[in-house]
């Protein structure tokens, strides 16, 4: 990257922004160079906004012929060294999964904004529904790990998008931003930090020093036993294998007779770095015996519910998952070990995270799900459950 275009950054200070726009601006600040997308409600504003902004900063915004093409072009762009992203909704994601698994196996970094909506392609397009949580985790054939971040406000959509790009560069895996139909269309005030502060945070796409050109894919260091993730290879430079194969390959990119080693590298590079990837927040957890575990929009309602409940003398706290995948097993175990009950408000009926909590706690602590579909939790909904549980 020769010179960073100053048009990338909005003027520092407060701006009123739609969630989708805040996400796009976050991506631009993080150095987005290629966006490939296909319009789908409720993510359309992302491609609309970037169609204006990307040419201004010397980047490319392509409206492809379908979702399959958009994700493939994103992978292509990432392979030649552009930070790239796509944005879509659930029906688009389900079309893209084949390519996501290819990208994960090839260790191509990219960011994926999933503005979740209700139901299948013919569903209620304008209603929020966190129904892709499971699909995101297992988004493709083959085995791999993904990172998924769940913001809860427009400010976080901006900040976490930068984090997502950094994770993509560091861990070379698909990174998802789990927005939803409501968050994407919410207008809120976003405070944009000064350009220098953003640039300090951003990890740029660079080539490694030439003597490290041999190792292009994740490998296990024999001396330390740790997984080393080299910088992503770039086509059109010497730092690229002659053959990019999405089949078990070693760190040079050559087909390997040891698929197990490859699989370990792909899975463990995330699993062993959970302490750096898993971002969590706690709220009044110290003496809490009823714990709310939440992510995304329901957290907002939970904060208010906890404040009211605390005033009435209930010992409630919130454990918020900013990183939904990989699931922070140890941290959750540590937090809930003395809890009387766990409440999991989720914007879906299945309770994807509730299932994970059940797995971690081995069903020893009662878990109360609060499912909601197409509308989100009012503080009173959560408060009611807290009171019932405390009885």
């Amino acid at each position: 990257m020769s010179k960073i275009n100053s048009k990338r950054f909005l003027s520092p200070g407060k701006h009123l922004m739609m969630g989708n726009v805040a996400m796009s601006e976050g991506a631009l600040s993080a150095g987005l160079n290629y966006f490939g997308g296909y319009p789908i409600t409720p993510s359309t504003e992302v491609i609309e906004h970037l169609a204006v902004r990307m040419p201004q900063v010397g980047g490319v915004c392509m409206q492809m012929e379908d979702e399959l093409a958009s994700i493939n072009s994103v992978i292509g762009a990432s392979l030649v060294g552009a930070k790239s992203m796509t944005a879509t909704s659930g029906p688009g994601l389900s079309l893209m999964v084949e390519t996501i698994s290819m990208a994960a196996n090839l260790e191509v970094p990219f960011v994926f904004c999933d503005v979740q909506r209700n139901g299948p392609g013919t569903g209620f397009v304008t209603e929020p529904h966190h129904n892709d949580i499971g699909l995101v985790r297992f988004s493709g054939n083959g085995e791999f790990q993904v990172i998924a971040l769940a913001p809860m406000s427009c400010q976080e959509l901006f900040d976490l998008t930068i984090t997502a790009f950094n994770f993509a560069e560091l861990y070379r895996c698909p990174v998802f931003i789990l927005s939803d139909a409501y968050l994407g269309h919410l207008h809120e005030v976003v405070t944009i930090p000064p350009k220098e502060k953003i640039l300090d945070r951003v990890i740029q796409r660079e080539l490694p020093p030439p003597d490290e050109y041999i190792k292009k894919f994740t490998y296990k260091d024999d001396n330390t036993g740790k997984y080393v993730i080299p910088k992503p290879p770039q086509m059109g430079t010497d730092y690229c294998p002659g053959l990019l194969l999405h089949q078990p390959h070693n760190y040079e990119g050559l087909p390997t007779p040891k698929p197990m080693q490859f699989m370990e590298a792909i899975m463990d590079k995330i699993n062993k770095n959970k302490d750096k990837i898993c971002i969590t927040e706690s709220y009044k957890l110290k003496d809490a015996d009823i714990i709310i575990i939440a992510y995304g929009l329901p957290v907002r309602a939970s904060y208010r519910a906890v404040d009211i409940a605390r005033k009435e003398g209930f010992k409630v706290g919130i454990f918020r998952l900013v990183t939904v995948w990989p699931f922070p097993d140890e941290e959750v175990m540590d937090v809930v070990k003395d809890a009387k009950a766990i409440i999991v408000p989720e914007l879906n009926y299945t309770g994807y995270i509730a299932e994970q909590v059940e797995r971690v706690t081995k069903l020893e602590i009662p878990i109360i799900k609060i499912p909601k579909v197409c509308e989100f939790h009012h503080p009173d909904d959560i408060l009611k459950v807290i009171k019932e549980v405390a009885k």
Binding site: H185, R304, P379
Partner: protein
């Protein structure tokens, strides 16, 4: 925690969404209150039932609105089309002393039953004034914004003027300020009426 719930509904393209953005800009960007705005989009933004909602928290210490959708009963309801008027029920507007306003366009809505039994309701022929006096229907927004500024009182007039400068093209700024003034007068005279009625 003092939520102020606002809902605007009318024809898509009439300025429903712009007005809601003006309100949230004035109150959260210039006044520093926590606020959110949501709007109809995609197919829902077409036709006579386009809507936009704004929630402002009047408590300055609140950093984030917990439930971003406006809840019934509303503090401020603006109805601009016949289709939207049909959905309005009596209990949708707060029945408190200084809040619970219903503003409707009596040049666009012929039949509005509920309005007779809602106390703080004001009919203004907004479309008619906008077209006849200013030459374009979009000035209706600024008139309504003036009415809103006076009646709600959640942000200062300075913030309102800043917002107008931000939203309208500089070529029509004078006309818009005129429209704002007109809205303000409408609002002030309505407040006077209410006071007299109560006294």
């Amino acid at each position: 925690m003092t939520r102020y719930e606002i809902r605007i509904s009318g024809y898509g393209g009439q300025g429903v969404i712009t007005l809601s953005k003006m309100i949230v800009t004035a109150s959260s960007l210039y006044e520093g209150l926590a606020g959110t705005q949501t709007e109809a989009y995609s197919a829902a933004a077409r036709g006579g039932k386009c809507w936009a909602e704004v929630v402002i928290d009047l408590d300055k210490d609140i950093k984030m609105i917990d439930y971003p959708k406006a809840l019934e009963p509303y503090d401020f309801l603006i109805i601009l089309s016949q289709e939207a008027a049909g959905d309005i029920k009596l209990n949708m507007v707060k029945k408190e002393l200084n809040t619970g306003f219903l503003i409707w366009d009596n040049s666009a809505i012929q039949k509005f039953r509920a309005v007779k039994r809602i106390d703080n309701s004001l009919g203004i022929p907004i479309q008619k004034i906008a077209v006849e006096k200013f030459g374009n229907i979009v000035f209706g927004n600024t008139i309504l914004f003036g009415v809103f500024t006076v009646l709600s009182g959640i942000f200062s007039e300075d913030s309102a003027l800043e917002t107008i400068k931000k939203f309208v093209p500089s070529s029509t700024l004078d006309k818009n300020l005129e429209a704002f003034e007109l809205g303000k007068q409408q609002g002030l005279s309505f407040l006077k009426e209410l006071k007299e009625a109560k006294a």
